[in-house]
């Protein structure tokens, strides 16, 4: 069943969507931007109806019983030892069959949606490699021009209307990849090659977050998701594939020198320079991203400087060490990084 079709059915079912109003909606299964999420929302709304009706039946019956309780005046009536239960016996059978009917419906619906999620497996898909680290996301695409894998971090771009196969791997512990607006979760497990197929169809910015407790900073392991038009996506990927821009001015040049010959280079890559450390996120186009530090700070000069000088204050326990620089140098580094578009 098609995502959009099921969305219409969903909207017809229940005005759950209104709920979204109150929250930002950039990280919510209730505001689908993808085929899979839409199918799951449809299933959720069906469940809400069936379970809601069953619940009302229970509460209604309980209400009837309680009316008798409060009508009963005698403080301690003689116990009824052999009550006549023929009607109740029959109603029990009815009740049981109602439950069975409801469960069959829901199990069937789950099966259908499960197949719908599986359907994407068959399609030719864009391959994206996502590697989870404590506490950030390494993301790699294959550059159509050169065929090389191009790395970025904490920002996932997806072309609308095309299925992407996210190949998940963990460098350390178990994490879980989750972009609720697009699709459900898939755990990222050391020693297992998991993958999840997502088919986004609504353009815009969304947010993903690690959903399996992965240590001290589990709470601050998020990433941005941008659903582009195919053209935008191609352009973006082409930019990402390029090496880093050379420093444009003397200040940037000073920053360039510190970044590539100083402590940053131990962990970070700036493609086309001497900075080739793999442990940390790729910085080649950091300025083109929307946020830094795994989606916790918006990308701007002040945040860059703060993050470099006192990461432990912003994200206690992060593996990013505090780097002490002269005020001038700190400016230069931030200035240079800002040019890495």
């Amino acid at each position: 069943m098609g995502g959009t079709g099921s969305m219409r059915r969903g909207a017809a079912l229940v005005p759950v969507m209104l709920l979204v109003g109150a929250c930002s909606g950039v990280q919510s299964p209730l505001a689908p931007a993808g085929e899979q999420a839409a199918d799951q929302l449809w299933l959720f709304q069906l469940m809400l109806w069936v379970c809601g009706i069953l619940y009302l039946l229970v509460v209604g019956f309980l209400g009837l019983a309680l009316v008798r309780v409060f009508r009963n005046t005698s403080r301690l009536a003689e116990p009824e030892l052999a009550p006549a239960d023929r009607t109740l016996d029959r109603s029990l059978l009815v009740w049981a069959s109602i439950i069975i009917a409801g469960l069959t419906l829901l199990a069937g619906a789950s099966f259908v949606v499960d197949r719908a999620l599986a359907a994407a497996q068959a399609r030719e898909a864009l391959r994206v490699r996502v590697t989870a680290h404590q506490w950030w996301w390494r993301i790699a695409y294959r550059d159509p021009a050169s065929g090389r894998w191009v790395e970025t971090a904490n920002e996932l771009h997806l072309p609308a209307g095309r299925t992407a196969r996210i190949e998940l791997a963990s460098a350390d512990v178990i994490h879980s990849f989750w972009v609720p607006n697009v699709a459900g979760k898939m755990d990222v497990i050391p020693g297992r090659a998991n993958a999840i197929d997502v088919t986004p169809h609504r353009l815009g910015w969304f947010r993903g977050q690690c959903a399996e407790f992965c240590g001290v900073q589990h709470a601050k392991m998020a990433f941005d998701v941008k659903v582009d038009t195919p053209a935008e996506f191609a352009a973006w990927l082409a930019t990402q594939a390029r090496s880093a821009a050379a420093p444009a001015d003397p200040v940037a040049a000073r920053g360039f020198q510190i970044v590539t010959q100083g402590q940053c280079a131990m962990c970070h890559v700036v493609r086309g320079t001497a900075a080739a450390g793999r442990p940390g996120p790729d910085l080649t186009h950091i300025a083109s991203r929307r946020s830094i530090a795994a989606g916790i700070l918006s990308m701007n000069r002040g945040n860059l400087q703060g993050w470099i000088a006192q990461p432990q204050a912003l994200k206690p326990g992060t593996m990013m060490p505090a780097v002490t620089l002269e005020p001038g140098d700190a400016d230069a580094v931030a200035h240079y990084l800002e040019q890495l578009k």
Partner: protein
């Protein structure tokens, strides 16, 4: 602030034991996260700060991760081919903390000076890890390294374990 919260919280919840014990606060197991002051390299073998790193399991294990991240394990790791394992010779002739720190900071065999490349705090942690090596059972060290086998090492990264 966080420390304060944590203290009042413990005072409230750990009625099991008299608060005196809370003061012991086991430096061995302790984990202090949050903003910190810049560090200077150790001064002499009896620098008071040595204990803070050497006696704390969390600091030592952090040192272990950087030990492999910065490629030390490439030559000195338990699983490295023809590895110059540090544990045996450190066991034979132990070195003072500051001596090992200096040896790492100005490593003779590498082109770069780690002193300029690795933040001081991490050098402290790596030193603590290296000094702990002789006391670590080889099989346990191997087991830890296998757990961390999927992590990048310097400019090399075989990719995650699949």
């Amino acid at each position: 602030m966080q420390r304060y919260a944590s203290f009042t919280f413990r005072a409230a919840t750990s009625l099991v034991l008299p608060g005196v014990f809370a003061l012991v606060a086991c430096t061995k197991e302790g984990r202090t996260l949050g903003p910190e002051q810049p560090l200077t390299p150790p001064v002499g073998a009896s620098d008071k700060r040595i204990g803070v790193f050497q006696n704390n399991l969390y600091q030592v294990s952090q040192g272990g991760r950087y030990f492999s991240w910065y490629g030390c394990a490439g030559c000195h790791g338990s699983t490295a081919p023809n590895s110059h394992d540090l544990a045996p010779d450190l066991a034979q002739h132990p070195r003072a903390f500051d001596a090992i720190y200096a040896m790492i900071a100005d490593h003779p065999r590498v082109p770069v000076h780690y002193r300029d490349r690795i933040p001081t705090e991490q050098l402290w942690q790596i030193t603590a890890y290296v000094r702990a090596l002789p006391a670590t059972k080889p099989e346990l060290r191997r087991r830890q390294d296998l757990d961390e086998a999927g992590e990048p090492q310097g400019a090399q990264w075989a990719g995650p374990v699949r």
